[in-house]
């Protein structure tokens, strides 16, 4: 842990063209203040790896509307017509990945696996261009790891050494993404002294977190 950043400082750390994993599911558990700061600094050419692009005006939807995103790797963009429109017009390059495959690819990237074999997507468009591996008579798609320059994590509590806990469905992709970002920036709702989060409640160990966002004040 290198210390707390303002949203503006975090946005400065992230250069145009960077790849970002952004936690959240339909903007639930998404680090909104970091997104606002990226929009404010006029970020461009980002690759966003996330479950979805939320809806216009919420979470990742703000980055889409602002024209900050060149590429999306997601499982679902159906609830954001702007993403769909920009994909069809060619402004955004979009890779659609089955949700369970997406989370395993991110986990593989974060956990040093060379890939995983999954049956999801076999004999569908998802199979195109992929290696099919047979194990004990069954066929599987070889899905390769994903990593990103930055992981932007939305958390509930953080302590001073960066341990994170999450609440209910605001957890979603955040814990796996915290493994797979080369630089991990977490935006907690509150920051508490070391010892307040019991060891068994830590879902992301602080050793994974490079920076916390300062509290919202």
């Amino acid at each position: 842990m290198k210390g707390a950043l303002t949203p503006e400082q975090a946005a400065e750390l992230i250069p145009d063209g960077a790849s970002l994993m952004i936690g959240g599911f339909m903007a639930v558990g998404t680090p909104e203040r970091m997104i606002d700061a990226l929009v404010a600094r006029g970020a461009r050419g980002l690759t966003v790896i996330a479950n979805d692009t939320a809806t216009p005006g919420k979470g990742i939807g703000k980055l889409i509307s602002a024209g900050a995103v060149a590429r999306v790797i997601a499982s679902h963009i159906g609830l954001n017509p702007e993403t769909q429109g920009k994909m069809i017009s060619g402004e955004i390059d979009c890779e659609l990945v089955p949700q369970g495959t997406l989370v395993e690819r991110i986990r593989a990237g974060g956990m040093g696996l060379g890939g995983v074999l999954t049956p999801a997507g076999l004999a569908t468009e998802v199979e195109d261009g992929k290696q099919v591996v047979e194990v004990e008579g069954n066929r599987f798609l070889l899905e390769t790891p994903l990593k990103a320059d930055f992981a932007l994590i939305g958390a509930w509590q953080a302590d001073y050494v960066g341990n994170l806990s999450y609440l209910l469905t605001a957890q979603n992709f955040n814990p796996v993404m915290a493994l797979a970002g080369r630089t991990v920036i977490a935006e907690p709702e509150s920051i508490v002294p070391v010892g307040v989060i019991p060891p068994d409640s830590v879902k992301t160990p602080g050793v994974l977190v490079d920076h916390l966002l300062v509290h919202a004040g």
Binding site: Q84, L96, Q99, G100, T118, T124, E125, N172
Partner: protein, 217 residues
């Protein structure tokens, strides 16, 4: 009773005590309303909760607890929150007793297409490919026809969701069981004749001697 309620009530009868069940967004989500609490069923939302409950009391919504559509939900006693890796591990690993999804087409091989209309609608597959591949039982809940065109077709013309044959299709006209020998017509909706169903169905149906009316309690 409107068509959607009819479908939801009939699907609800498929649910067995103690099952873990995933309900898709939209029509499938209505099924929960017709499952008695006494069955001890746990509903899963793939964004990360087992034990999804009804809409929370007015003013008590929590933005950390939503369903896969992003709508506020509550949780039943005994609920568990899980991350996306665990959520799809349960789905892919066969721990989900049943999934109920909407459909665009089901064909004579029992294949489902429900995630893309090329050139028109490309929302992404979300969790559908994992759900159809991994759930112990896959039930498709949909209108029998859309804009006058049968959704039960000889062969899907839209991109497939999975290679796996779905287990049951429940529409506003019929209950159909895809099998190795084709689509078996199991039940008629109240007041609907065999002729009505044949006329509304583009696919070939296997019609047993006795096709009872749905029994809706």
């Amino acid at each position: 009773m409107d068509a959607k309620e009819l479908i939801a009530r009939r699907v609800a009868q498929e649910i067995r005590p103690g099952m873990l069940v995933n309900l898709g967004i939209g029509l499938p989500s209505m099924v929960a309303t017709y499952v008695p609490a006494s069955l001890g069923v746990f509903f899963q939302a793939e964004n990360g909760v087992i034990g999804l409950g009804a809409r929370p009391p007015e003013g008590m919504e929590d933005r950390h607890l939503t369903d896969a559509g992003g709508g506020f939900v509550s949780a039943v006693p005994g609920a568990a929150s899980i991350d996306s890796a665990m959520s799809f591990g349960l789905i892919r690993g066969g721990h989900l007793g049943m999934t109920v999804l909407g459909g665009l087409q089901v064909d004579e091989a029992g294949h489902l297409a429900n995630w893309k209309v090329p050139g028109k609608m490309v929302p992404g597959m979300g969790g559908a490919m994992d759900l159809v591949t991994g759930a112990a039982r896959v039930v498709v809940a949909m209108q029998h026809a859309a804009r006058g065109a049968s959704k039960i077709v000889p062969r899907c013309t839209l991109p497939l969701t999975a290679l796996r044959r779905v287990d049951l299709v429940v529409t506003d006209l019929a209950v159909i069981e895809p099998t190795g020998v084709g689509l078996i017509l199991r039940e008629r909706a109240p007041g609907v004749s065999l002729e009505d169903i044949r006329a509304a169905t583009e696919a070939a149906l296997v019609i047993p001697a006795d096709v009872p009316e749905m029994t809706l309690d």
